[in-house]
């Protein structure tokens, strides 16, 4: 599959998306470790959509030598203070989920978050031969 495009609406979607990402990264030639790292990173951000925004969507594809993922939601956005803490890795949520987002940054080569009161977009990528 060249392009994954799916809604994020339920916890069942999380499992479906994770399995599709696993298939795509394997076909693209990522090592078993990196396959698991990308799947875990995707699972963390998809779960955040379900927890904080309720619904959203994901696209994922190989673009040249990079696996590129975009996740979006129509939630209320991330407060600026939280965003700054996410940027410098000091965010600690009461539920412990901040570790998930901080962890995602460690698993991927690049993570970029665009947020506004009408929604959030998160882009992340992992090079094939890093």
């Amino acid at each position: 599959m060249n392009l994954l495009k799916m809604p994020i609406e339920s916890r069942q979607d999380l499992g479906l998306i994770r399995r599709e990402i696993a298939k795509m990264t394997k076909e693209a030639g990522y090592s078993p470790l990196v396959q698991v790292q990308i799947c875990t990173a995707v699972a963390e951000v998809v779960r955040n959509v379900l927890l904080y925004a309720g619904k959203g969507g994901i696209t994922a594809r190989m673009r040249r030598d990079k696996f590129v993922v975009e996740v979006w939601d129509k939630g209320k956005g991330i407060p600026l203070e939280t965003l700054a803490e996410l940027e410098n890795g000091t965010y600690k949520s009461k539920t412990g989920l901040g570790k998930g987002i901080n962890g995602t940054k460690n698993l991927m080569d690049r993570v970029r978050i665009l947020t506004s009161p009408s929604g959030t977009q998160l882009f992340m990528e992992k090079a094939l031969n890093a």
Binding site: R11, Q12, L14, G15, R18, R19, A22, P32, L33, V36, Q37, C39, T40, A43, E44, R47, G96, L97, K99, G100, N102, G103, T104, N106, L107
Partner: protein, 131 residues
């Protein structure tokens, strides 16, 4: 592939053994928490081993649920050990800075059981170790 079937809980002498395999869904792990605590009440075990060598995937949420199962078991007087984390999952969790908190971990099931007081007795067959 994940499904909604119940995860087995095996009674092994005074220990409950829970093998987690493949791709565990959120609903399965939530149900497992309820099932394990009910079995602890029913069987009165001394220990709980959560064996994860067959897991394909473990994120911070599943880690959190496993940690909360162990914490609840501890409140009921039962020690827990997480055994058999694969190298790939261990590296991934370490990279993320996620762990199991204070839960004891073991390299394998064989290493986990003695920590809960179960020890094996080796027997030597008189055939050079081959069947």
């Amino acid at each position: 592939m994940a499904d909604n079937s119940a995860i087995p809980i095996i009674k092994l002498w005074d220990t409950l053994l829970v093998p987690l395999q493949g791709d565990i869904g959120d609903e399965q792990i939530s149900q497992l928490r309820v099932d394990i605590l009910a079995r602890i009440e029913r069987d009165n075990p001394k220990g709980l081993v959560i064996e994860v060598s067959g897991l394909e995937f473990l994120d911070s949420y599943l880690c959190g649920v496993i940690a909360s199962i162990a914490a609840a078991a501890k409140l009921m007087g039962v020690r827990s050990v997480v055994a058999g984390l694969s190298p790939i999952i261990a590296i991934t969790l370490e990279t993320m800075g996620v762990g199991f908190g204070e839960i004891q971990t073991a390299l394998s099931l064989e290493d986990a059981l003695p920590t809960l007081g179960i020890t094996g007795v080796s027997t030597t067959k008189n055939n050079g170790g081959r069947r």
